[in-house]
Each structure stands twice: as C-alpha cells, then as structure tokens.
Symmetry: C2
Subunit: 151 residues, 2 copies
Amino acid sequence: MGDLPAVGEGKRGEDGHLGYLLRQAAHAHRQRVEQRLGDLGLTLPQFSVLTMLAAYPGHSSADLARLALVTPQTMSVIVANLLKAGLIVRTPHRVHGRIQSIALTDAGEATLGDAKQRVYALEAEMLRDLAPEAQAAIRQWLTRITQPEAA
Amino acid sequence: MGDLPAVGEGKRGEDGHLGYLLRQAAHAHRQRVEQRLGDLGLTLPQFSVLTMLAAYPGHSSADLARLALVTPQTMSVIVANLLKAGLIVRTPHRVHGRIQSIALTDAGEATLGDAKQRVYALEAEMLRDLAPEAQAAIRQWLTRITQPEAA
DNA sequence: TGCCGTTTATCAGAGCTCTGATATGTTATT
DNA sequence: AATAACATATCAGAGCTCTGATAAACGGCA
C-alpha cells in the first residue's frame, strides 16, 4: 500500500495542489501564532478583532464581520468570548437603538500591545530572505484570490 | 469614527499583514470550493481526505492525520462523517489488532471523481494570467511556511 | 514472562465557522 | 400613517479544529 511522503515532498510540496498548499500554510501560521499567544489566552481570530477595533473603534459586530469576511454569527461568537475575557465592552449606539458599539478596554489595549510584538516578529520571519519581487507577487496574489471575482 | 475600507483597499489589500491576507485567501478559496461542492454534500477537508485515500489507499486515520497536518482527533471527526455518508469503509488491519484500514467505497470513488473536476477548474482559475516565475515564487513560499522550521 | 514506551483510537470540552431561522429596530415607499 | 425593505442581533444545529485525558494493542528489554 506504499509509504507516505514527508512534508515538503511530492504532492505535499511544491508540486501539490494550490488549495492544499494554501490551507496548510494558513493552518501552520495560525498554529504558530496561537502557540506564541498561548499565555495571553488569545486566538488568532480574537487578535484580528482586537486589531480591527484599535484601527476602527466604535463599530458594531456586524461591521467587524464585514471587515473580517465572516458571517455576523461567526463574529458574534468571537465578540462574546472577548467580552467574557473583559478585553472589550459594548455600549448602546446613541442614534441607532439596535446597534451595540464596541471598544477595547484597558486590559484589551494592554493585551493587544503584548500580542502585536509577537505576531509581527513572526510575520517578519515569514518574509525573511525573500526578494522584493517575490514578496510583491505573493501579496498581489493573496489579495487577488480574496476578491469575490477571483472565482 | 471613520469609515471602513473595502476589500482590497488599504490594510485589507496588498499593504495588509501577511497573516491576515493568508487567512482571508485560504478562507475565500474554501468558501468557493464548498459552494461548488454543495450539491455533493462535501466539505473541503472531506474532499482532501478522499483525495489522500485515493492516492494512498488502506491507511489508518492516524496516517491521514499526519498527512493532513491535523491532530488524530480532528481526523477522527472527518472520518466519522465520511463513514456516515457511506463514502469510505473501515476494516480491521490484518496484522495489527488496533489499526482500522480505510478505503473508498464505490460511492466514494464516484463522488471524488465529480468533485475533482470542479476543484481543479477552480485551481486553474486561481493561477490564470500568472507569470511562471510568480507561480513558482508562490508555490515555494507556501511550501516553506508550512514547514515547522519556518517558525 | 512482565513491564515500559509508543501507537492507535476515542471521549470530553472548547473555539471558530457555516447555513437557516427569528425578532427587533430603522429607513424608504406608497 | 402603514407597509415594505433593510440592518442588527441572536438562537439552533452542524462541521472542523484544538488541548487534555483515557483505553487498548503492539514492540522491546530486563
């Protein structure tokens, strides 16, 4: 029944299917991030949401969902867990009675500051020894296939 | 409180963080695949497992977990759902009393054949109009950051 | 032979993600 | 003013993914 190939060999390497490579790369990165964020009790999606809130404060869960390209239900779960951890607070919107504006707490700011250093160091590692043209090609491609029209 | 950027603009585009771009690209691809596989009732992880079993038949759930870079528990869930759908079967290993060898059923083969055409067409779309050097750079990078040493 | 470490499989609990459905509040149309 | 359309939030159910713990079967070594 044949032996199994090692990571990076044959179909598990550069000859593999792009979807497979893409999934594994994203997965490996997430694992590395959450390993380094373990003692902060922060997941990668949670880190993303905190980062978004720091850049665009006062927005709603629905806004964040659009920003992260996830459904409102998904964002609702992440927001609930951040609330439970005391890293964000929700206040009723002044004008719109249904909207809940979200902002970072002091604890949220502090945790985000800690986490950013670690995550950004990891990102620099990913690009180490990469030619500028290669970096540009990768960024362009990732951006392109994220667009709905790339279908 | 400022407006939100559109997909592909500012931090949501080529200037964004790599981890963010990587996550969104993998996510967008998965969504597109599962949309096209919807009538087969197949998810992307399930498709991956069927493909692996076609290439390396007779292996165990633990083998598949190593192949897909996921934990045995995760693979156990996927295998259970494929069993429930009748796309795979498990038989006790001849020599080793604990191992369960897994193989595709006829239904599994047929479903995989259907799915492959759609998924591969999607992959070709992702690479359309891409220079060979850019393709190579992307494949190399994805392979590299999947390796544990890329940390 | 008997114990120890490894491998396989599985149970429990948690977070992220989806689709589908429902309730409520806002805005536009008639 | 009443209705329709839209946005926000939430509940329910499902699949994927993890960590941690447990049990069973195999292999090697004292």
